[in-house]
């Protein structure tokens, strides 16, 4: 080679990776984009990790009224605008999320485009890779679709021609990807983290549910609930303990339909593979170090109130408010609420006087950055235990990472979608049966939080005394039929709120149900009397149903002098 011809250092060519081993590694890379994170505390590409958190804690839970942004007033102000519905297209959070999801799409597209050049793979191996890649692409587009509505379809034919218009509904394309995956993937996989046939089935069913294609969804749910197994081959079932879904020690259990695999202390010296997107969501001035975000709302806490029969107050739960320690110093005495409560509350929300896993009773205000601003509560589902923290906590950043998986589809989610489908098809008894499966698990004594044997030694074990007055029961036979279709749907939707609280689902659910305007208007009126962070909160009909296409992306879409992307309605 001549003096002026020099090959790049430290990288691979397209030829190098167009082999079986190269494709396998690219597929791992496509899975790796699920968490949206990279090294040095950033989302893939750039932007704060939380802006692209796959849990959607901002876009699903905070925006849906499950939680306050938390922390203090100007920490991450764009989240405040998302929380109060005042966001516009210049909000950089949407841009980060969009870019990260399209990186996921791109990684799968590259695999699909390189596959025809690979010589050392059998047809079956090719199909398997295609199916996993298309499952992942389906997921990335599903996220894009529910966030942004008008999404351009870019596939393996468009690797260089990536400026595609967003004027066509992409649901059919998403369905195609999941269908291909469902039909091509094996029921079990050698590795727990891989998508299998049943994960694809569940995601396809969820795609139908989002489109209200109830008759397409029903047969699929019938199959999943009778034949579905995890990638490891375990028959789908709810775990006896609700908390097992939020504990690294019990990951990839029978309830884990498809999860993003998180790992800690994995040799990177970083937390980028350890749920970095939720690094902010731990109590402040606490053993966790940072950052006091994602504080559950009073409205959510009140939702867990149960009546004498152990059933929720579907309408007027805020009239049965749960006592809080708002404005009470940690040094002043406080007795927690003594009324009836759904035990899932205390696995979902950290509140004063109740064991916070094995970290001690939550001390209230002293673990909260600014209680007047964002309320007295702490998140819990993403928090690791003290006894096994050396294994599952990752201390390699200024805020913790953890090995707790992010379960994208949990079997209880499948059951509640199945219930919804049955109710929509007016099979109310069948719907009730699904809901009661979920409530029965919640009523399992193993799902209660118990007081410590010794409050000063939280790692010394739990007593047999429940930490609160837990009263919960299944709906009595015929209850849904008695309520009628609308009543049953109301109960099912409320059950989703309780069961999947703080799991990034709420906003997308209330939008697809069309209940967002009423729910959020009521929520802002109630919650803004308690904290100062929700001023100006509103839901603008005809606009807020979708987040705006990021302005930056519209500006970057010029092709021959014209924009290829158009904005959503109302922006």
């Amino acid at each position: 080679k001549s003096f002026l011809e020099r090959d790049p250092r430290g990288s691979l060519t397209g030829e190098n990776v167009s082999t079986k081993d190269g494709i396998d590694a690219l597929l791992i890379g496509a899975y790796a984009a699920l968490d949206g994170q990279q090294q040095d505390v950033a989302a893939i590409g750039t932007g704060g990790p939380w802006e692209a958190a796959p849990s959607n804690w901002i876009y699903g839970s905070v925006a849906g009224g499950d939680a306050h942004k938390g922390s203090d007033a100007t920490d991450q102000p764009p989240i405040s605008l998302i929380a109060t519905g005042q966001f516009d297209a210049s909000n950089g959070f949407f841009n980060t999320k969009w870019k990260v999801l399209f990186e996921g799409v791109t990684r799968t597209n590259i695999i699909l485009s390189l596959l025809p050049n690979v010589k050392d793979m059998s047809a079956a191996q090719v199909t398997q890779v295609q199916a996993e890649a298309r499952f992942l692409r389906g997921h990335y587009y599903f996220e894009l679709k529910k966030m942004f509505g008008k999404v351009p379809w870019v596939d393996e034919m468009h690797i260089t021609d990536y400026k595609q218009p967003n004027n066509t509904d992409i649901w059919p394309k998403i369905e195609e990807d999941f269908k291909f995956a469902y039909e091509s993937l094996p029921p079990t996989q050698s590795q727990a983290g891989r998508a299998n046939k049943w994960a694809a089935a569940a995601y396809l069913a969820k795609t139908y549910v989002y489109q209200k294609k109830w008759t397409d969804a029903k047969p699929l749910f019938d199959l999943i609930t009778t034949q579905g197994v995890t990638a490891k081959g375990d028959k789908y079932a709810l775990t006896p303990r609700f908390e097992d879904n939020f504990d690294a020690a019990t990951k990839n259990n029978s309830e884990s339909v498809f999860a993003i695999q998180m790992s800690a202390n994995n040799g990177t010296g970083q937390i980028s593979n350890g749920n970095q997107g939720e690094m902010l969501n731990f109590p402040y001035n606490s053993p966790f170090g940072c950052c006091g975000f994602y504080q559950p709302t009073q409205d959510l806490v009140n939702s867990f109130r149960t009546d004498a029969n152990g059933l929720p107050f579907l309408e007027d739960y805020n009239d049965h408010a749960v006592k809080s320690d708002m404005k009470v110093l940690s040094t002043a005495p406080f007795t927690p609420d003594a009324g009836n409560l759904d035990p899932r509350l205390d696995w979902t929300v950290g509140r004063r006087g109740i064991p916070y896993l094995d970290w001690g009773n939550h001390p209230g205000r002293s673990w909260v950055r600014d209680q007047d601003y964002a309320g007295p509560y702490a998140p819990k589902k993403n928090v690791y235990w003290q006894y096994n923290q050396d294994k599952y906590k990752d201390p390699n950043s200024w805020a913790p990472g953890s090995a707790i998986n992010l379960v994208l589809i949990r079997y209880s989610d499948v059951l509640l979608m199945a219930a919804e489908t049955e109710a929509e098809l007016t099979n109310l008894d069948a719907a009730q049966a699904y809901v009661n499966m979920v409530r029965t698990r919640a009523a399992n004594p193993q799902t209660r939080v118990y007081k410590y044997i010794d409050d000063t030694k939280p790692m010394g074990g739990f007593s047999n005394t429940p930490a609160a007055n837990y009263v919960i029961a299944s709906y009595p036979a015929g209850a849904f039929t008695g309520m009628g279709k609308d009543g049953a749907l109301k109960a099912i939707r409320f059950e989703r709120k309780l069961e999947l609280a703080m799991e990034g689902q709420r906003f997308f659910d209330i939008v697809r149900w069309g209940t967002a305007p009423a729910e959020l208007t009521r929520f802002f009126a109630y919650e803004s009397k308690i904290t100062t962070d929700l001023n100006g909160g509103k839901f603008v009909v005809g606009r807020n149903e979708h987040y705006p296409i990021p302005q930056r992306q519209i500006d970057l879409s010029f092709k021959n002098g014209a924009k290829t992307l158009e904005q959503n309605e109302g922006y």
Binding site: F3, L4, E5, R6, D7, G10, L12, T13, A25, L26, I28, G29, A30, Y31, A33, Q39, G45, G47, T74, P77, P78, S80, L81, D88, G92, T96, F102, E103, T106, R107, I110, K163, K251, S263, N265, G267, T268, G269, Q270, N273, N285, L329, T331, R365, S366, D370, D372, D390, K391, P395, N396, W398, A403, T532, N535, G536, Q553, D555, L556, S557
Partner: protein, 1045 residues
């Protein structure tokens, strides 16, 4: 008049003498030998000895600097023959600035150069020749004794003999591929072949004083408490005070203890026996059991002065030089030591230089220039909120530096005492004290020159640099802050590399009948560059003793990384200089460069330039105008190239792996990762050279027999095919896109310099002065096919950017909402909302998100009756309208007094420090006097800051707005110096040639309206002028001596 002290030497012999007070001399010489007479201020004269026993010589006074020989690209020219825009640096003048960096010394001294630095020892300043020329690397090309290099940080300023700045294409295009950012040619000192051995010593010692007073206007602890009460009341008029720190009374009270929060003396919880802190804990979970006891510092901690202290500076340089007809040598040793005013920052430098040349017969010369330098220079990254400086304006003043047992105190709090989340700045700095780095470089060349056939000279030079640097640092676990790093780790890194340049030139020079003067040069040059970097980190050390910690002695996670690079250039070039009647001058240059950074499609670029000059003063009609000694009009056009802004692998689509973003725990193990690949970069095989098309017109005038010299230039540059890595649509994925030649920008401006030479105010009071003026106006013409702008610097505005680089605007422009006062009454708000509702046909419309009494009212820029993101506008930019320097020197008998003033006018600064201190809700850190005393209240509507509240808002602090933009103009007394030279008569008795002693004050005062700590704010190429805690320039007071033997 007889001239005493004139040097008389026999050429090429080493024999010489000097004239006595009567102007007489005697010397032994043979017939045919040449005597050389030289004297400062007079034109050197040579006389060939004939038969006469005595000769008498009349020396003529120099007229200005016309005959000065100037080193330009691969050649030398007399100043009067120059046709390009070349600034000749007054080396003696710039060397008065007490810094070890030559580029710092250039600030304000040369027209056409903008230098932005900071007070941090060893920090390389931004040097820009004629503004910003590219979105990427704007560093000029330095050519030291013929060796091109990108940096001169380690060049010993005392070694510089001459320095020329080539500013336009006419002068710089000969460096084609690398000329676009301008070229600075430096020649280092050589020995004089006059038979004498000279020894010089230059040294100074001094003290540096940080700025005094309350530099950020921070409140006292009691005032902080009062502000909190005010903000809470403003947020909720019915507030019930119940604060973990300040109690629950109507007036806040300061506690005796801040940890445990809010307690008073005597409380059992502050019993010192409960104290439990192990500052060197190893297990992160130990932190959970610590019991901290911190007293409140009710008087307030002055964090700035806790980390900024007076510091020493000293410099010593010794040189030995000499030579004769066989050759000459120059040897120097330099030691420089500057402590930073910021704790644990400093610069130590050592360098030795050896320059020599040998005459092999009459027509062959062989020589070498070599410098070896060593730098030890721990620094911080300033201008960001996370630095020690950034924390010093964020850490609350009630926090003491240390706790009751002498360990660090900090923002850790309990009992709901809100102490913010800043980190202890003293701790940050002290924890760096064992971090070390050492860099060294060998830079130089060997060369040979042959004269042949009378008019030809062949020169070959082989030179380059070999460098390496290593750093190691230890990260201590923290325990005192609200947010602590809990992991101890050790990091070591090393870089090394080399490059060589081999150039060969052939020069032909002939004069025909003294009418035509022709000089032709052709040459080739090859450049080869290689480097490597390696870094590793290990966690979890048994002890933190710096003698123990290394990459092998940790027990925890090990990470390592390395990379390598290589690139090369090959060039051929030629130049022609022609002058007719010494009156009409013409220069032409062409260079063809090939670069390995480009794909085969566009590997080569050609860069031509032509320039011409007309010495009007030589024309008959001006020859008789006695006050015009010389007047020359110049003009030139040419193209300069740039290839720095393209990665050597730009042409290739590449795949790679990264543990953070492409590895995945596919097996669900919780603590291992399967390795995965991803596409890392998209290639562009079509990238080509940036071309900087440059037009320059100017004149040089020498007036009043050289008493006044003026040089002025107007230039216009159009930079085309700018290599820019545009952001691409998100639908392309996040692989690094390639650099493409799409962007374009334009600069125009005026360079003006003015010199006054030796004006005798009285017989013994002599004035010298010179002034420079530099202007540049930058405008972006095009950015990319994808989008008309790119944004940078979100800082705390997440996703809303402060800086927008947009078409038709200068680079690094500030962007956001323009504030137009406050919302003073409910009626104003109602009227605005009413207007918005009409404008949008929406009965629920609100004029401005977060509209509320006392908050900012934003300008409705697009006039649509409602504030949306379309109302953001350009709020100024950090490029000055002009900058200027003024040197004055007064000599009186043996005293000399110099003043150097430097000023910048018409620039803006984005003062992000005030975002932290002027808005109560911008985190619970230290706040300013403005927040408490000059914020909006119903009874104080004519306020500076908006109402203080406990919630952030679009209408106050959560989006970039013009509140933070300030005028950054300033005038600084960079240097004042008073020197005294001992009379020659005294010195001769003790055998010393020169002895001068001086006192000096640098940065004595700065006149500015800027409210921050220092208006000189640096930054990146496309994002500068953003102040978030600058390392300020400090006053320096020095005494020094210059001695010559």
């Amino acid at each position: 008049n007889p001239l005493p002290g004139v040097t008389v030497a026999v050429k090429n012999s080493g024999r010489g003498t000097a004239t006595d007070p009567a102007g007489n001399f005697s010397l032994t010489a043979k017939k045919g030998e040449t005597l050389v007479f030289s004297f400062v201020g007079y034109t050197q004269q040579e006389v060939v000895l004939g038969d006469a026993a005595s000769i008498s010589v009349v020396l003529s006074e120099k007229v200005g600097s016309l005959d000065e020989v100037v080193v330009t690209g691969y050649a030398t020219q007399r100043k009067k023959d120059l046709t390009g825009a070349v600034s000749v640096v007054n080396v003696e003048q710039i060397s008065r600035q007490p810094t070890a960096q030559v580029s710092n010394q250039l600030q304000g001294q040369v027209s056409g150069i903008t230098v932005l630095g900071s007070g941090q020892p060893g920090e390389e300043p931004q040097v820009r020749i004629r503004g910003v020329n590219t979105f990427g690397n704007n560093t000029p090309l330095y050519v030291i004794d013929g060796v091109p290099t990108q940096n001169i940080v380690d060049l010993n300023p005392y070694d510089v003999a001459s320095m020329q700045v080539l500013k336009d294409a006419g002068s710089a295009s000969i460096y084609g591929a690398r000329a676009a950012n301008g070229v600075i040619i430096i020649t280092t000192k050589r020995g004089k072949p006059d038979g004498k051995v000279r020894v010089t010593y230059d040294g100074y010692y001094g003290t540096q004083r940080p700025k005094g007073g309350n530099v950020w206007h921070i409140l006292s602890p009691q005032e902080m408490a009062n502000l909190k009460w005010m903000a809470l009341k403003n947020t909720d008029p019915n507030v019930v005070y119940n604060d973990g720190l300040y109690g629950s009374g109507a007036t806040p009270r300061l506690p005796d203890y801040i940890a445990p929060g809010g307690l008073m003396e005597g409380d059992p919880a502050v019993d010192p026996s409960k104290y439990n802190v192990n500052p060197f804990y190893k297990n992160p979970s130990d932190l959970d059991n610590f019991y901290r006891i911190n007293k409140a510092n009710k008087g307030g901690t002055d964090w700035f002065h806790e980390i900024f202290k007076p510091a020493m500076i000293t410099s010593h340089n010794v040189s030995v030089s000499g030579g004769g007809d066989q050759g000459a040598y120059y040897l120097s040793f330099y030691y420089f030591n500057q402590k930073g005013t910021l704790l644990d920052t400093y610069l130590k430098r050592y360098s030795i230089r050896s320059n020599s040349f040998f005459n092999v017969g009459k027509h062959v010369r062989i020589g070498e220039n070599l410098e070896f330098s060593v730098i030890d220079n721990p620094r911080i990254t300033a201008l960001t909120e996370g630095s020690g400086i950034g924390m010093a304006f964020r850490e609350q003043p009630i926090i003491p530096v240390r706790d009751i047992k002498g360990n660090f105190a900090g923002s850790f709090s309990t009992n709901g005492a809100q102490l913010g989340n800043a980190r202890n700045p003293v701790a940050i700095q002290e924890r760096t004290k064992d971090n070390r780095g050492l860099g060294n470089r060998l830079l130089g060349n060997v060369y040979g020159e042959v004269d042949f056939l009378q008019h030809f000279t062949f020169r070959t030079s082989f030179g380059g640099e070999v460098y390496s640097a290593s750093n190691h640092s230890f990260t201590y676990p923290e325990y005192e802050n609200a947010e602590n790093n809990k992991v101890n780790s050790y990091t070591e890194s090393a870089t090394s590399g080399y490059n060589w340049t081999w150039s060969n030139t052939l020069t032909y020079s002939q004069s025909f009948n003294k009418i035509h003067n022709v000089k032709v040069l052709v040459g080739t040059e090859a450049f080869d560059n290689h480097g490597r970097m390696v870094t590793g980190t290990t966690q979890n050390y048994f002890i933190f003793d710096p003698n123990f910690t290394n990459l092998g002695t940790g027990t925890g996670t090990v990470t390592n990384n390395s990379n390598a690079f290589t690139d090369g250039l090959f060039s051929i070039f030629g130049r022609l200089d022609y002058s007719l009647f010494d009156k009409y001058l013409l220069g032409a240059v062409i260079r063809r460069d090939g670069s390995s950074r480009f794909g085969a499609n566009n590997r080569y670029g050609t860069f031509p330039a032509i320039s011409a000059g007309w010495r009007v003063s030589q024309e008959e009609f001006l020859k008789h105008v006695s006050w015009i000694s010389d007047l020359k009009i110049r003009g030139g056009w040419g193209i300069m190239g740039n290839q720095l802004n393209v990665d050597p692998s730009n042409a290739f689509t590449q795949y790679g792996l990264n543990k953070g973003s492409s590895f995945y725990d596919i097996g669900g193990t919780s603590n291992t990762l399967a390795s995965g690949f991803f596409r890392t970069t998209i290639g562009n095989p079509d990238a080509k050279w940036e071309s900087n098309i440059n037009t320059n017109v100017g004149f040089d005038a020498t007036l009043f027999k050289g008493k006044l010299e003026i040089s002025a230039d107007y230039y216009k540059k159009r930079v085309k095919d700018l290599l820019f890595t545009p952001e691409v649509s998100g639908t392309a994925g996040r692989s690094n896109p390639p650099a493409v030649n799409i962007a374009e920008m334009q600069n125009h401006g005026i360079d003006l310099s003015l010199g006054i030479n030796d004006i005798h105010i009285t017989k013994e009071l002599v004035l010298k002065a010179n002034a420079t003026l530099t202007t540049y106006k930058n405008k972006i013409i095009n950015i990319s096919g994808d989008a008309p702008y790119f944004d940078l610097e979100a800082r705390r505005f997440n996703g809303n950017f402060i800086i927008r680089n947009a078409i038709d605007h200068p680079i690094s422009s500030f962007y956001g909402y323009k504030t137009v006062g406050f919302w003073n009454t409910a009626e104003e708000i109602a009227a605005a909302n009413d207007q918005a509702q009409k404008a949008t046909n929406n009965p629920n419309a609100v004029y401005q998100t977060g509209i509320k009494l006392g908050r900012f009212r934003y300008q409705d820029t697009n006039g649509d009756g409602i504030i949306t993101d379309a109302d953001r506008t350009f709020l100024g930019n950090p490029s000055p309208d002009f900058s200027y320097g003024l040197n004055l020197q007064l000599d009186y008998k043996n005293f000399d007094f110099t003043v150097f003033l430097y000023g910048v006018q018409g620039n803006n600064i984005w003062n992000q420090v005030r975002w932290w201190t002027d808005f109560y809700p911008s985190f619970a850190g230290a706040k300013s006097k403005t927040a408490l005393y000059d914020s909006w209240r119903p009874d104080h509507q004519n306020a500076k800051a908006p109402i203080q509240e406990n919630e952030g808002s679009f209408s106050t602090n959560t989006v970039p707005n013009s509140f933070l933009v300030e005028n950054g103009s300033y005038l600084r007394a960079k240097n004042m110096m008073l020197g005294y030279t001992l009379p020659k008569a005294v010195l001769q008795r003790i055998g010393i040639e020169k002895f001068r002693i001086y006192v000096q004050a640098a940065n004595l005062f700065t006149i500015t309206k800027y409210s921050g700590i220092d208006p000189e704010i640096t930054g990146g190429t496309t994002n500068f002028g953003l102040d978030e805690g600058a390392y300020p320039n400090q006053r320096q007071f020095l005494v020094g001596v210059n001695v010559g033997f």
